[in-house]
Symmetry: C2
């Protein structure tokens, strides 16, 4: 699959002119990463947006006690973007690390700005993505309040089976807001049913 096809899937490019598509394909570039690589490190400014083509990554922050708390997983098809740092050009407090080898398609902040300002439809698509991310985050926040850990696990299993299948239990646990011990027990209970 070439760039144009991938980008057509990721954004809604149906209304883009040929020259717009050209500009877009020239500004995105393929990258590959290896397990353990950091795509983003706290204290730096996020300079890229990456669409994951293969592999799995996770983002995490360090809590007041020094523990790593997983804030999100990024599997095939999802975008890796630290919104606050990328757009406001301030150092991030998050880290994003590859959990497996993989590859993606990335664009720099400058490239993004270029597209954002020159292609109205790209601007719309970008805004929609941002807003959707906002919505998803709000839902996650809500479910931390309203759902039990077991239900949150089941939801994750349903919406992101790749994560459950491939991510280490301890990372899934901090993502759910529980300890690895508790998650292990939840799994045992579920397997009994």
């Amino acid at each position: 699959m070439d760039k144009a096809q991938i980008l057509a899937k990721a954004f809604n490019t149906s209304s883009f002119s040929p020259s717009e598509m050209d500009k877009m394909t020239s500004l995105f570039e393929f990258v590959s990463f290896q397990k353990g690589d950091f795509v983003l490190q706290q204290g730096t400014v996020a300079n890229n947006l990456m669409i994951v083509l293969e592999g799995l990554l996770r983002s995490f922050a360090i809590d007041p006690d020094g523990n790593e708390i997983t804030t999100s997983f990024h599997g095939k098809g999802s975008g890796v973007l630290e919104v606050a740092s990328f757009f406001l050009r301030v150092p991030t407090k998050e880290n994003t690390q590859a959990l497996s080898d993989g590859k993606g398609l990335k664009i720099s902040f400058e490239g993004f700005q270029e597209l954002f300002h020159s292609i109205p439809n790209f601007r719309e698509a970008g805004r929609a993505r941002l807003v959707n991310g906002f919505f998803a985050l709000k839902n996650r926040s809500l479910s931390m309040i309203t759902e039990s850990a077991e239900n949150r696990y089941l939801q994750l299993l349903e919406t992101h089976p790749q994560v459950i299948a491939e991510a280490p239990l301890k990372h899934i646990a901090t993502y759910l807001g529980i300890t690895d011990t508790s998650l292990s027990r939840i799994r045992r209970e579920l397997s009994k049913k």
Copy 2:
């Protein structure tokens, strides 16, 4: 205080031209609300952004068991905006209701679009606000995982004393993700210290 002054505070209008300021002041209008009024109701599309000038409001969603969960408070100076519904033009799942009489300055979606597209600095300010909201939401999400209910209460007390002082305990409780009973006990413990 007149519109221009208020808007100058809410946005960074220092670089706006006189005609831009005129357009802006003509598109924002004063509104007042009474305790109990709904500024936004679930199932409808959010059509306004409002800057609170006086009074206190809260937003809440209904959880799977039918309970009201407070998702945010809006005191003096803060903006009332349901991002997803406003920008994507889809029905919201949230409600926003006044906890006291008050007043604000509001702008419609159309007015906002007008400013957004015609004033680059407004666009920048808008994007910055959106991104900051994103950041705040992420932090809240994180603190639900990493902090005890007592600490979350203390943080709220520090950052939004108006809320603690004026909002009913039960709403503060659901905002913190605990029951009113627990919050009452937390307060007792804190008062002992």
